[in-house]
């Protein structure tokens, strides 16, 4: 069961100061993903570099999915900027991954949903293709163009959150993950994600890094039961080296976007929940 609750992608960043640094926009045509017509997907990338960016430096990178709305108003960049100013984060590059043309169309349903997950309508999922794009094309392209340290965070909301969890389970070598930190915001875990987690557990007892999950309390029991079961499942595994955080936020689906990313980055930096 996927969570398709309607939410208002609220500009919950009203309390945040403006983003700092510089953001540039780019496009990348995928060699892996295709749209419903079978054409290669063109992704819009918003790359924010921190103030005083040094091309010879080495910066961690936060990849924020669904940039069409989670990056609207520079939300992810504003959160990172504020945390940098606070001293919680070191200077960090933010990459917002959106679609071209922008929008919440069917492509995210293709990219973020597992081929194993039933979908109530629309095209079948092909998250394996999107993961291949991220692993084989997007991350190398970012690493080639900017001064990155190899320390990466993947953040997603809703279907993007489900994808972030799937990516958490999918590394061929879980002890050397592509993304060290995963932020899975307000998603409805389907049976496919339990299967993905079981597959990870069968391959390794160690998963260094962090996993932070949130849900919107107002989604109700239909999401609460599988979400809590998935959190409990990961907890029971006690993956060596994994920092696991899970928070039920007293808000709705759209209201979790900003507190999910901010809370996760604070958690990964060592702050208590």
């Amino acid at each position: 069961m996927r969570w398709f609750g309607f939410g208002i992608a609220v500009s919950a960043c009203a309390d945040l100061p403006p983003e700092t640094g510089e953001t540039t926009r780019h496009e990348l045509v995928s060699e892996h993903t295709v749209d419903e017509a079978g054409d290669p997907v063109r992704y819009a990338l918003h790359v924010r570099t921190p103030p005083g960016y040094d091309a010879d430096g080495a910066y961690p990178v936060v990849f924020q999915l669904d940039a069409d709305f989670t990056y609207a108003g520079g939300l992810a960049a504003r959160i990172v900027s504020a945390l940098e100013d606070e001293g919680v984060l070191e200077p960090t590059i933010v990459v917002g991954v959106g679609h071209t043309p922008a929008g919440l169309g069917s492509q995210r349903q293709i990219d973020f949903v597992s081929p194993d997950a039933p979908v109530p309508w629309g095209p079948p999922g092909a998250s394996d293709r999107f993961l291949a794009f991220v692993r084989d094309q997007l991350v190398p392209w970012i690493d080639a163009g900017w001064a990155t340290s190899g320390e990466r965070t993947l953040s997603g909301h809703s279907l993007g959150g489900a994808f972030a969890f799937e990516a958490f389970t999918a590394d061929p070598d879980p002890t050397d993950p592509l993304f060290r930190w995963h932020v899975a915001g307000d998603f409805g875990p389907g049976a496919d994600l339990f299967a993905a987690e079981a597959s990870l557990a069968a391959r390794t007892s160690a998963r260094p890094g962090g996993l932070h999950l949130t849900r919107a309390r107002w989604n109700g029991a239909a999401q609460q039961v599988p979400w809590e079961a998935l959190v409990a499942r990961v907890e029971e595994r006690a993956y060596e080296g994994l920092a696991l955080g899970a928070v039920s936020l007293p808000t709705d689906h759209g209201g979790t976007v900003a507190p999910t990313l901010e809370g996760a980055l604070r958690f990964f930096a060592g702050e208590a929940e």
Partner: protein, 192 residues
Amino acid sequence: MIPLLLASVALAAEGPRVQLDAVATYSIGGQTALGGEALTTVGWKVWETPRAQGDVDVGLWLGVQAEPWSLAPWIDPEQARGMSGRVRLLPNVGHTIRFGELRRFSFGVHLYGGAVAWWSQGQVTYPEAGVDGEASDLAVVGDWGGLLRFTAQPHPVVGVSLVAGAPIFGATSSSYVVGLFTVGAGLTFRVR
């Protein structure tokens, strides 16, 4: 200004008009809900022309909304069974214009502010994943918003009522648990 105020006081002295609406509602927000609502208003006439009059109303809006998961097509009924619901108690104030020779038609605009009790309860089962659990949750939160009401009363006592209400987001919460966009149709009764 003073004559206008005196005229309003004189008109108000005629005594209040009490109206009760009972409507069936359809609501949408996070998901969709079906419900029933009762809206009682007490109105005092504060201005009048040959063709219309204006009332100042105070009222109480009481509603029950049921949100069965079967109304959410993305929830597989084989896996999940349950429902959410709301009880809303919303005092309101507004202005209603009554028009027609016998003042049998009305259009009112109201602002409401009150509380919503929300609950959710159900069971989810994924046999292949070893998931089988149930949960329940309850919260009481503030709610405020706007309400439009149109009535037509061909009979002196009974008529039809159409209502549409919407929460104002961001004031007490950004959440759709607080209130849903609601439309309703039903009967209106002139009690006094």
